[in-house]
Structures are given as C-alpha cells and as structure tokens.
C-alpha cells in the first residue's frame, strides 16, 4: 500500500541534530507514523543525498551558510508542505546568540583559540563559508507550518504529524510553560534577584516568587515543562509566546519584570535592567527572528550590523 502513503522528506540545516533525534525518539509511536508515512529522505535514517518529490518536508535548523540556503530551497521545490520544525528553524535557535559576535570572533573562537583543542587553522575547503547572519528558514523559503520547541516534545510532534496525515485541524495549544509547571506562584517579601549558581530555590514555589529569573511565563509550551518540574528555571528554549511575538510593545523582559515585580518586592526596573544585561542569554533562542530582533526596544541587531559594517 506504499502508493497511498504520505511521502516525507526531512533535512537539517544549521542545528544540533536534536530535532532529528526527537523524531526518531517517537519510539514505538514511530510504527504508528510509519503505517501512513513513507520516509524518503532523512539524514539520520536514510542515505538519500538527493531531494525526492514528497508531500511533507520537515526542515530543522536555521540558515547560516550557503549550504543551508541551498538545502532549504531544494526542500521547498520538492515538498508540497514545509514544516519549520524546532526552534532553530522557526526563530533561528540558540545559535542566534552568534549574532552578538562578528564572524571573525566566532571563527577565531571555534577554530583558532578554542579552549578545548590545539589546532590553529581555519577551514578553507569542503565546507561552505559562514554567512553574515543567522536567520529562521522563512526568510529564505515560504513556510506552511511552524512547530517550535528545542526540540518539540514527542506529544506535539505526534499531534502535528497526525493532524497533517489525517487532514484534521491541529489542536493548537497556546499555553505557556507555567501552565504545565507544578510550582505554586505566591507573593513573597523577596527584595533581591537571586543567583542560581550560588543559592538554591525550593522545589515547591515558583522561581519568580523566590527571586530567580525563569522564562516560563514568556515561553510557549511545546515541551511539557520538564525544567521547572526538575529544579531548573526555564531558559525559554521553545521560543516566545504568541503575545510577545504579536505585540511589539510586549517583550520578554517587560513581561517577566511585570509579573515578578508583582510577586516579589523587587522593583520592575531592577528586574528589567538585570534582564537587559544578560540579554544574550535570555533572547538567544529567538534573537534571529525579526519578530524579536526588530522590536522597537530591542537593539541587538543594529549593534551587530554596525559592527559588521566596520
């Protein structure tokens, strides 16, 4: 019956490979998917170097090199429906933080003065050169569907794939990481921002209430909130909420500051300034998308463009 199966291509661009592992990680549910899907190209499962004609194309990773760009275009040409899969493809991903550095700095740090190797040569053949910017894939090709998450939890992968295969409307869920977190948010008399490397948070109360920065309330839940439920504050890897993305005046730092200053006795401005100073960390996952990069108050792209122009 393979003729009636949905043909699937997947391709990875500039990424960590985690999203492809997440697809394979569907475990026995993979068999359920394979009943209706024929995988033609998938870098972790097949040896297909070409781009066969397919119904669905899953693209993971962002565009940083000429190879990334060409691979994205080839996928678009051969696949009817393109899914930007994972935070890298949707928003640029955590290597968006590379935008805070010049290309020379990155090459130098990785190949010449890497703290963990002794080589001192820049690669000059076999790999394509580093582009000027990291961009989400929709700056290069038209995208039909978006599934953020770093990687998306198998629950959402399966739901997304099933709705596509069965042609039903996906139950798009817009709740944040807080919605799946088991901690209790309560008002406290905390007066200072806490440093997670030198003090412990208790496991029952919300990090914000205890004075620790947590990005749960500004992050779309595509992960089922593993981090805050296992003692670690959310770092926002699934990317921002619809609210933050659609409204230029709402931002990660203003939204967190608003909530945290109401939960604690720490002033709004103190929290906001703290988040600005560590912007490279807090904005990393979505910095490369115009929705965040072009916010009227977020100037990091301008700083970088000025630096590259010098």
């Amino acid at each position: 019956m393979s003729g009636s199966k949905v043909r699937l291509n997947t391709e990875w661009l500039c990424d960590c490979g985690g999203c492809h592992v997440a697809i394979v990680d569907l475990h026995e549910k993979m068999l359920q998917v394979l009943q209706s899907v024929e995988i033609l190209k998938c870098p972790v499962l097949t040896d297909e170097k070409d781009y066969p004609e397919a119904d669905i194309g899953i693209v993971t990773g962002s565009v940083r090199t000429e190879h990334d760009r060409e691979a994205a275009i080839a996928m678009r040409q051969k696949c009817k429906t393109i899914i930007a899969f994972g935070t890298c493809a949707v928003y640029g991903g955590f290597h968006g933080a590379g935008l805070a550095h010049s290309r020379e700095e990155i090459m130098d740090h990785v190949y010449r003065h890497s703290p963990t190797t002794k080589t001192d040569t820049l690669p000059n053949n076999s790999i394509s050169a580093l582009g000027k910017m990291v961009t989400p894939i929709d700056e290069v090709i038209e995208v039909d569907l978006y599934l953020p998450g770093c990687p998306p939890h198998s629950h959402f992968i399966l739901e997304g794939l099933s709705s596509l295969i069965n042609r039903t409307a996906p139950r798009v869920h817009k709740e944040t990481v807080c919605a799946g977190c088991h901690r209790v948010m309560k008002k406290t008399a905390v007066t200072e921002i806490q440093d997670p490397t030198s003090s412990y948070a208790d496991g029952e109360t919300c990090f914000l209430s205890q004075g620790f920065i947590c990005q749960g309330s500004v992050t779309l839940d595509r992960c089922l909130a593993p981090c805050p439920n296992h003692g670690i504050a959310c770092s926002g890897c699934a990317g921002p909420t619809m609210q933050v993305l659609s409204e230029p005046t709402r931002d990660l730092r203003t939204e967190i500051s608003e909530r945290m200053s109401r939960l604690t006795k720490i002033p709004y401005e103190t929290i906001k300034t703290h988040l600005e100073k560590s912007a490279k960390t807090h904005y990393a996952y979505a910095m490369a998308t115009k929705m965040i990069g072009n916010k009227p108050t977020f100037l990091i792209r301008k700083w970088i463009a000025e630096r590259e122009a010098r």
Binding site: I83, Y146, E175, A179, G180, R183, M185, Q243, R259
Partner: protein, 83 residues
C-alpha cells in the same frame, strides 16, 4: 453573552488576575489555591487578566474584539500556521 474560563490545571495561583481586574470578576479559592471566575457579568473584556496571566490560562469567548493597530503584521499572518 461573554464567557470567560480559567483552565484550572494551568492556574498557578498567583492572583495577578485578581490584582489587575478593574471590575473584580475573580475570587481566590483558598481550598484549591486557584483563581475562580465569580461574576462574569461585570467583565468589560479589557483582557488585562488574559495578558498578565503567566500561564495564559484565561480565555474569553463571544466578546467584541478591539483590534490593536500596533500588532506585528508579519507575525500575525503566521500565527495560524503554528502547530
């Protein structure tokens, strides 16, 4: 008729909705430690509660939506494409 619901499992009990609602539509249930809609009739659909809620747990239905002129058009056109 305007309807307003709180997704109970998502509520973290922060009471921020009680703090911001100009018309006192919510009460805090001490037993469950979660917010509850008390008088939906008072709601003027300002959506302040929906915006402040850290979980995005508060939903409104059947209300007159005032469209924000400052929406990010680029993203808004993509919003319905999210899985």
């Amino acid at each position: 008729m305007l309807e307003m619901t709180i997704h109970e499992n998502s509520c973290r009990g922060c009471q921020l909705c009680l703090d911001v609602c100009p018309t006192d539509c919510f009460v805090f249930d001490e037993q469950t430690q979660k917010a509850r809609v008390a008088v939906v009739e008072n709601c003027i659909a300002c959506l302040s509660c929906a915006y402040i809620c850290p979980s995005m747990a508060i939903r409104h239905k059947d209300y007159h939506q005032v469209k924000n002129f400052y929406r990010n058009i680029e993203f808004s056109s993509r919003m319905e494409k999210f899985l």
